[in-house]
């Protein structure tokens, strides 16, 4: 047993160093006693040569204790790192100097310490809170040894700095001394920011060096040294560091807790502008004391091991190399700027009362509108690379905005209402747009929830309302301004050429489990998505399509297809009626329909209301695409009766790669029943492989294409995402096999090269009999007539799990619980016959918890938790059912 000084800190790490000072605040020949935590002696004792040194600098009012997990992990890493965490002077267990040390002094102090320690070899600085600035100050003066920088919840630019009320009170001149030194209020408030709360012994360790007001002078001085404006003595130094780091070209890693009430996302964005090479990961839900809230050691050491920042670029260049001619998203629009045939039709135009006639724009009108809006947005300050969040429902307005942004090189952020208000807010804060364009409802949300970005309204608002919502511009006004600006311009060269490999769009995963993830596409990848659709479904210029499925709907103008938005509430696909679909189809003589299974379900439910003319309009459809989730064959067969002349296709894909494979109704019938859902063969230019699943549920590292091997589905295609947004850890996991995207789905390929999806990696069961994927058992359960939807989840510890079926019945039950005896027997028998699985229990609930966007992805993680609780004999609330209103 190693003797510990504080929880997690062995005695051997702690040492004191006598350091001659060169700081301006000290008289010559002053020597200070520093306290440091250093795993160097431990490594030396083991005879291990470290790869380099992590120099960790704490902020206020913590101390080196904050970095104990890095010291431990550094010593244990495959390639060990020396980790030195310092206690700054007047802080922690370092000397109390009796001086007021300003930022400049603290930067010299750190240099004095590293000189005294005679550090050799490459150094990576690690900084938190105000320690971040000091570590960056050191980095600027030691660039020859600097190999990288790591920052967590810090800031280098204090403009607009606001403090949460509790801290503001602590810092108010009337109470500043009282709040920071006389009492330990500031320290206690800071510790209370930890999410989850600190363990009592850890909290005690953080407070240990600050017992007694004489020990807290440094805490008070640190706070007083925050340069709130340019008259402050430390302003100049801060500015020098903030500007200086723009010249640092070393790799950088930023790990952030977005719940931090002080060092919030705005400072992360500011740092990303200054250090654009940085790899960034935001830990949704984590707060200021990030190293306490989450495990930072795994990402830090895997980042160090991988060679920071290399990975994305390699993959990107590989994908680029595989591509030929780049045809911009706006090419069709530009080529048809004198075409008077319809380009976009909106069955329920924005802001128009119900029953008003559809709005139509010709190709020429759309092209002009896009250019005018682009000019207007440019006049309002939107620049290439700026993120513009579009909170506008699908239709002419959204289409115009998307193509205007693409024209400018601005990055569209599409956080749709399908994420729910909370999820949308998190997504927007995560993406951090510079501008928000929204309908009134969205702008109210932006105001109420404090979403970032300069606000632009989609419609004209009254001056009072615009003021209230802090709206700076409106789309009609920008179009008018753009019209004026574009007259007299050279029509042949009005716009900068788009960089094909610059960011074009941030889309979001549906967030059916955990927070929605931002997914970044470049212009080239968006065009590849367009081409994958075009080539797979043979979509020619002249095709007319009903856009009932958002992601593909946006591609209409790029495909050269006339697109019509049906009258429906996009937040709820179930609101698409058969009549609305038929009217939309009739308006453009549509030959193609894009919809989701939930929408098609409602179309079938309302098909009885169709008039003869409406039925005829649907008879003209040649291609029907059901996207977003797998669709059961019986449902597709019923759709086929409505659109007898259409080929019915259902692609498989995800926000990160749309589409991956495709199958049509005949294909589904030919495949029949099997282990999972047959989703067909890869689309144009896509490749699918499998990373094998071991019996313990772990996943292999080799892309394999041999048939009947169950494992994680891997995708390679030019239209796979560029990266996850500000989720470096997630990205490095998903791209750990160079050139492949790990989908997190589980499945296998069959002898004919068809892909079968067996469920999500997170949903597999590890039973005593081995790994079990849920989909085949679910299909067997759903073959029982009374069963609507089934989810099979594992209950119990990994390796010893028992399978449990959770059912939503066609005739919904009112109360959740165990299934009636007869139903339980029927389901158990069906599942045993179909898969050989012995279900431990059959449960029923009123409605499945699903995502809002598709109302189809069942939240099995929540279901498994619920099932485990009630099967333990406890009581638990049925998990939320997002898809129900």
């Amino acid at each position: 047993m190693v003797a510990e000084l504080w929880p997690g800190v062995p005695e051997s790490w702690s040492s004191f160093v006598q350091v001659p000072s060169t700081a301006a605040v000290d008289r010559p020949d002053t020597v200070h006693k520093w306290h440091v935590l250093d795993n160097g002696p431990e490594l030396a004792a083991r005879g291990v040569e470290p790869a380099g040194t992590l120099l960790c600098v704490h902020g206020n009012p913590t101390w080196s204790y904050l970095w104990r997990s890095l010291l431990a992990a550094g010593a244990e890493a495959g390639q060990p790192w020396r980790v030195i965490a310092v206690d700054q002077l007047d802080m922690g267990f370092s000397a109390r100097t009796g001086t007021f040390r300003r930022l400049e002094d603290r930067i010299s102090d750190l240099g004095d310490l590293t000189d005294a320690l005679e550090l050799t070899g490459k150094v990576i600085t690690v900084g938190h809170d105000w320690g971040g600035i000091i570590s960056l100050g050191w980095a600027l003066t030691h660039s020859s040894r600097l190999a990288g920088i790591i920052l967590t919840n810090t800031a280098v630019h204090p403009a607009g700095f606001t403090l949460p009320p509790a801290l503001r009170l602590a810092l108010h001149p009337a109470v500043h001394g009282w709040g920071t030194q006389t009492t330990d209020a500031f320290i206690r408030v800071t510790h209370s920011l930890a999410r989850p709360a600190l363990a009592p012994e850890v909290r005690a360790a953080f407070s240990a060096p600050y017992r007694g007001s004489s020990r807290r002078e440094g805490v008070a001085n640190f706070v007083a040294d925050i340069p709130a404006d340019s008259t402050h003595p430390s302003w100049g130094t801060l500015n020098r560091v903030a500007e200086g780091i723009k010249r640092l070209d070393v790799p950088a890693l930023m790990l952030w807790g977005p719940k931090d009430p002080v060092f919030s996302d705005r400072y992360l964005r500011d740092l990303m502008d200054r250090l654009p090479q940085a790899d960034v990961h935001r830990f949704e839900g984590a707060s200021h004391l990030l190293p306490e809230d989450v495990d930072i050691t795994a990402p830090v050491f895997s980042w160090l091991e991988k060679g920071p920042g290399t990975e994305n670029r390699e993959i990107r260049s590989r994908n680029v190399a595989g591509l030929s001619v780049f045809r911009p998203m706006l090419a069709e629009l530009d080529e048809r700027d004198d075409d008077s045939s319809p380009a976009v039709v909106d069955m329920a135009p924005l802001g128009a009362p119900a029953g008003v006639s559809p709005a139509t724009l010709s190709w020429a009108e759309l092209a002009a509108r896009v250019n005018q809006l682009a000019a207007g947005l440019s006049g309002a300050g939107v620049r290439a690379g700026d993120r513009v969040n579009l909170l506008v429902p699908p239709g002419i307005e959204l289409t115009s905005l998307i193509y205007a942004c693409l024209r400018l090189g601005a990055v569209i952020v599409v956080a749709d209402a399908g994420l729910g208000t909370k999820g949308m807010g998190r997504a927007i804060k995560g993406a951090g747009p510079a501008y928000i364009v929204g309908i009134e409802r969205a702008l109210i949300g932006a105001r109420v929830f404090g979403w970032p970005g300069i606000r632009i309204s989609a419609e004209t608002l009254s001056p009072a309302k615009a003021r209230l919502l802090d709206v700076k511009h409106s789309v009609p006004e920008l179009i008018a301004a753009g019209k004026d600006a574009s007259t007299g311009k050279d029509p042949n060269e009005p716009w900068l050429r788009t960089d094909p490999d610059a960011d074009a769009a941030v889309l979001f995963t549906s967030g059916s489990t955990g927070p929605a993830k931002g997914v970044v596409y470049t212009h080239r990848q968006l065009t590849a998505m367009r081409d994958a659709l075009k080539n797979t479904y043979n979509l020619q210029a002249g095709t007319s399509l009903v856009a009932g499925f958002a992601p593909f709907a946006l591609l209409g103008p790029a495909l050269g297809a006339t697109s019509v938005t049906p009258d429906m509430d996009v937040t709820s696909p179930r609101t698409l009626t058969a009549a609305a679909l038929a009217d939309a189809a009739a308006a453009v003589s549509a030959t193609a329909v894009f919809a989701s299974p939930a929408a098609l379900g409602n179309v079938l439910a309302t098909a009885g209301d169709l008039t003869e003319d409406q039925r005829k309009a649907l008879h003209q459809v040649e291609l029907l695409l059901s996207a977003g989730a797998p669709i059961p064959e019986p449902l597709l067969a019923r759709v086929s009766a409505l659109t007898p002349n259409a080929e019915l296709h259902t692609p498989y894909g995800m926000t990160e790669a749309l589409p991956v494979t495709d199958i049509d109704l005949d294909g589904i019938r030919a495949a029949g029943a099997g282990n999972g859902v047959c989703v067909g063969t890869p689309v144009s230019r896509a490749q699918v492989a499998i990373a094998a699943l071991a019996p313990d549920g772990s996943v292999g590292d080799t892309p394999l294409v041999e048939p009947n091997l169950t494992g994680e589905i891997l995708v390679s295609a030019p239209h796979v995402k560029d990266r996850y947004d500000r989720l470096w850890i997630t990205e490095s996991k998903s791209a750990s096999l160079p050139g492949w995207h790990r989908t997190g789905d589980v499945g296998h390929l069959d002898e004919q090269g068809r892909l079968w999806v067996e469920g999500r990696l997170g949903h597999i069961l590890t039973t005593p009999g081995g790994v079990v994927t849920p989909v085949a058992a679910e299909q067997a359960a759903e073959s029982v007539p009374a069963v609507g939807r089934a989810a099979v989840v594992g209950v119990g510890p990994a390796g010893a799990q028992v399978p449990v079926a959770v059912l939503e019945l066609k005739d919904p039950v009112r109360r959740p619980g165990t299934a009636p005896q007869e139903l339980a027997v029927a389901v158990r028998t069906a599942v045993a016959a179909g898969t050989g699985l012995d279900l431990a229990a059959v449960l029923v609930l009123p409605a499945m918890p699903t995502d809002i966007r598709h109302n189809s992805k069942i939240d099995r993680t929540a279901l498994a938790g619920w099932a485990a609780t009630i099967l333990a004999g406890g009581s638990a609330k049925v998990p939320g059912t997002g898809g129900r209103k």
């Binding site: 005593p768 119990g796 028992v802 165990t818 005896q821 012995d838 004999g873």
Partner: protein, 342 residues
């Protein structure tokens, strides 16, 4: 010698508690496998001679009876125990702890090689839900109820005797049931018939059970696999946990009785259970009642919290899998009760 333990070699085995359902099944199974079987029980065993068994009457806590019983045997399977939801501690301790001590001492004196102690998972169940756990260590302090506490103490003292010359293994079958079972099946049916059987917490608690034939087979395997099984406790179940409500309904249906339909919150039943238990004990000591109380705190816990187990180690050590599924067992139960369909 491992050859002495191989399934093919006939052995001379003493089975205690053979008048019970499980003890009888074990004795018959051993005899069927060609072993020479002697049984010891307080009341003479019906049909023992027909089954080829030598039957001795007597109590395991009686040193003289125990010595007589083990004489000339080389293996003992010890099932005799006082099993009840209620009663006085002294009675449990006398049969379950002292009886085990006495039998072990006699066995060692007689040169017995292998000793299978038939225990219960309740020796390591402390009221918390168990979901997919291993056997756990017996704890007389924390186990619930006199039965479980006395069995826990007995298991600890038995396993402490394990040595190369006297090998001791503990087998813990969990909730054994089947045709002829009075412990669970008859009680359930009886209470359901008189409307005294509520479902606790809606009957959702997931519970492992063991069909009688599987439990007997596992115990015999414990003896046959003593090379691997000694020195440890193994929980034995069907490996098919089911919600308790479904099990009770299955048993009722098999017996042609209406299954319970009313549900009581588990906490209420636990509270009521301990009140009833106390009242029953008081009444019992005054000679007023002879039956078991309708609900005890122990029973309420058993019926309202999960207890199912990870069977991987058991199956590996015993090199055995259950032959009769829960569903097959229900069908056999139905046949036993006159052909009512399950």
């Amino acid at each position: 010698m491992s050859s002495a333990a191989s399934p093919g070699t006939p052995r001379r085995v003493l089975v205690t508690g053979a008048s019970g359902l499980l003890g009888g099944a074990v004795a018959r199974l051993l005899a069927e496998k060609g072993h020479t079987v002697r049984t010891l029980q307080r009341t003479p065993m019906a049909g023992s001679a027909a089954a080829g068994l030598e039957s001795i009457a007597g109590s395991v806590s009686d040193p003289a009876a125990a010595a007589r019983a083990v004489e000339g045997t080389d293996a003992v399977v010890h099932l005799a125990a006082k099993v009840s939801f209620t009663g006085e501690w002294q009675d449990f301790a006398a049969t379950n702890i002292t009886g085990t001590r006495t039998l072990i001492d006699a066995s060692k004196a007689a040169g017995v090689r292998d000793f299978v102690f038939v225990s219960s998972p309740s020796v390591a169940h402390f009221g918390e839900p168990i979901a997919g756990a291993g056997a756990g260590t017996a704890d007389p302090e924390r186990a619930r109820g006199f039965y479980a506490r006395s069995k826990a103490a007995a298991e600890l003292l038995a396993l402490a005797e394990d040595s190369p010359s006297f090998r001791v293994g503990a087998i813990r079958p969990h909730i054994v049931w089947g045709p002829g079972d009075t412990q669970l099946v008859e009680r359930v049916i009886d209470r359901a018939r008189s409307g005294r059987l509520p479902l606790l917490n809606g009957g959702t608690a997931l519970i492992d059970t063991t069909y009688i034939a599987n439990a007997a087979a596992a115990i015999v395997r414990g003896l046959e696999r003593m090379d691997h099984a000694h020195g440890q406790a193994l929980v034995v179940t069907n490996g098919q946990p089911r919600p308790v409500g479904e099990l009770l309904a299955g048993i009722c249906t098999a017996a042609g009785v209406t299954p319970p339909a009313w549900s009581v919150p588990g906490w209420l039943a636990r509270g009521a259970g301990s009140v009833i238990e106390r009242a029953w004990l008081t009444a019992g000591s005054r000679g007023l009642v002879h039956d078991e109380p309708p609900m005890t705190r122990f029973l309420a816990e058993q019926l309202s919290t999960s207890h199912w187990f990870d069977q991987r180690r058991t199956r590996e050590v015993l090199d055995w899998t259950p032959e009769v599924t829960v569903e097959d067992g229900m069908r056999r139960l139905a046949a036993h009760y006159g052909g009512a369909a399950a």
